[in-house]
């Protein structure tokens, strides 16, 4: 579906992403995890066209999209949400989602109808007339999701849609994400909430200090020594192992 081929990006002296290659299969939910500052969001920026890589390529469905603008990439069927929610605050929920649905609907009426349909899918239909600025954090996360879905993507990049939500809210959003996948949209998500990663994903990629350090099924990843070290510090895996045997 999407493939990164040895992507690298430096900001001055900081190598934010170094030689990262990864692959997301169609029809899956794949997670990208890693400690803070690992380069996850930078990698999303590179994939979605908000940043151009210093080297490497991004391939979407067999097509080289490296260096294309975000709006062009969106038209090709891939869009993203933002970690820090960015609603069009002055507009209503309906108008917000309609900006996305206008991509494939020129007429105002059709775009609004499509927006209302998407709002039902993510559970926002009761709030269609509210200004986006009046939504709670959970509501704004849903709005990000709804706007992105309204563009009719085949691949959706979700940057921490669960961050800042309480456990109950998380449990409400999980089925929404699963429903998106079941409707045929491939999902790649950045997530810190491990419960969600374990629950949702078929495959996990782990990024640390700008490099991929592991990949595999969620259970394998949770036991992977290098992953434990990346999160808990050097030597931790060994100590944990010794503690377990003692």
């Amino acid at each position: 579906m999407i493939e990164a081929v040895s992507l690298s990006k430096r900001f001055g002296g900081l190598a934010a992403v170094q030689d990262v290659s990864l692959l997301v299969h169609p029809g899956t939910i794949t997670a990208l995890i890693g400690p803070n500052g690992a380069g996850k969001t930078t990698l999303f920026h590179l994939l979605s066209g908000f940043l151009a890589p210093d080297s490497g390529k991004v391939i979407l469905e067999g097509r080289d999209i490296t260096g294309l603008s975000p709006h062009v990439i969106c038209r090709l069927g891939m869009t993203r949400t933002f970690q820090i929610v960015q609603p069009f605050a002055a507009q209503t929920v309906r108008e917000n989602i309609a900006v996305g649905s206008h991509l494939h609907h020129r007429g105002r009426r059709e775009a609004i109808a499509a927006a209302e349909e998407v709002a039902r899918r993510v559970g926002l239909h009761a709030q269609l007339d509210k200004p986006a600025s009046s939504l709670t954090i959970a509501g704004r996360k849903r709005l990000e999701l709804a706007r992105a879905l309204a563009t009719g993507p085949r691949l959706l990049l979700l940057d921490e849609v669960l961050a800042g939500l309480n456990p109950q809210e998380i449990n409400e959003v999980l089925p929404v994400v699963r429903g998106i996948r079941d409707a045929g949209v491939t999902v790649l998500l950045i997530e810190h909430v491990m419960q969600a990663v374990m629950n949702l994903c078929e495959h996990v990629w782990v990024l640390s200090n700008g490099r991929l350090i592991a990949e595999g099924a969620p259970r394998e990843i949770a036991a992977h020594p290098q992953v434990i070290e990346a999160y808990l510090g050097h030597g931790t895996a060994e100590r944990l192992l010794r503690a377990a045997h003692a």
Partner: protein, 308 residues
């Protein structure tokens, strides 16, 4: 649909004004109010709907005014024929400034400063080039008759400027009810989100500044026909730039009726203060300034914000 009906009602009501009063003073106030409303509508497209605050809309106004004056005085064009040329030139200047500023990602106060600088550059150019009559300015020949965009009575001018304002209203209505308008307002509220949703941010902003520039140029053409004279500081001076932004800010940014409401309040207030304290010239400017400060403090959404 309700808005379209309101626009039609507004057009009919203002068009009937000369039937109610023959007073040249009243009609002159109405004309100057509509003229300010037109400037405000044009500015509102770019700033109110698009979030790009220009502080130099005189650059488009002056270009429209000089296009009309030069084509009439130097090349003998019919006044009406200069209108499309002026609109095209206004849009072209918009495309030029827009390409330079938006290509390099200028936003907020930087964009405002660039537009201000362009207006000044154009003023200095007009002041120094013989072609535009330099500092002396240009006079348009007196040729009474509707065919020459000159009218014996104020009613004719009122109807022409009203037609322009109605076009401005329809453009604003279209921005509220179209895909382009939705994209423009999305760009205003958040450029990154808009881009992620497939909006070509650069193209949308460029089209907005061209549309705004063309409509501002129409105000310039009207000005030249009404006063039959233009010079560099009238055309490109900061007074026009300020007039363009005061109305929408006071009336309500990014709304259909805000510019008209703001222009009306300002002009009535200006006339009232001028009548009351005629011994203090310029006191209306003090009132404008105080009003602007009060509005931004207590009514950031403009007078329209009171209604909603």
């Amino acid at each position: 649909m309700r808005q379209l009906a309101a626009i039609a009602a507004f057009a009919v009501a203002v068009a009937l004004l000369p039937g109610l009063t023959g007073s040249g003073v009243v009609l002159n106030i109405a004309i100057m109010t509509l003229y300010a409303a037109l400037l405000g509508q044009a500015w509102n497209i770019l700033a109110g709907f698009g979030g790009q605050f220009s502080f130099g809309h005189a650059v488009f106004f002056g270009t429209g005014a000089y296009a009309a004056a030069v084509l009439q005085a130097r090349f003998g064009w019919n006044a009406w024929a200069t209108l499309p040329a002026a609109l095209a030139l206004g849009a072209a200047v918009g495309a030029f400034i827009g390409t330079l500023s938006f290509r390099y990602g200028l936003r907020g106060s930087y964009f405002a400063l660039v537009t201000l600088a362009f207006a000044e550059v154009f003023r200095i150019l007009a002041n120094n080039v013989q072609f535009t009559g330099a500092g002396v300015g240009l006079m348009v020949k007196l040729q009474p008759g509707a065919a020459h965009f000159q009218f014996a009575d104020k009613a004719g001018y009122l109807h022409v400027i009203l037609a322009f304002v109605v076009v401005g209203l329809l453009v604003s209505w279209w921005l509220k009810h179209s895909r382009y308008g939705a994209w423009l307002q999305a760009v205003r509220d958040n450029e990154d989100s808009a881009a992620a949703l497939g909006v070509n941010v650069f193209a949308v902003k460029l089209q907005a500044i061209m549309l705004s520039g063309a409509l501002t140029a129409a105000a310039g053409v009207f000005y030249v026909q009404y006063f039959q004279y233009i010079d560099p500081s009238l055309a490109y001076g900061p007074a026009v730039s300020v007039e363009a932004l005061l109305g929408p800010i006071i009336g309500g940014l990014g709304t259909i009726w805000g510019p008209i409401l703001g222009a009306t309040v300002l002009h009535l207030l200006g006339e009232a203060t001028r009548g009351l304290v005629s011994s203090l010239p310029g006191v209306n400017l003090v009132v404008y300034g105080a009003l602007l400060v009060l509005m931004i403090m207590f009514l950031p959404r403009g007078i329209i914000g009171l209604v909603k």
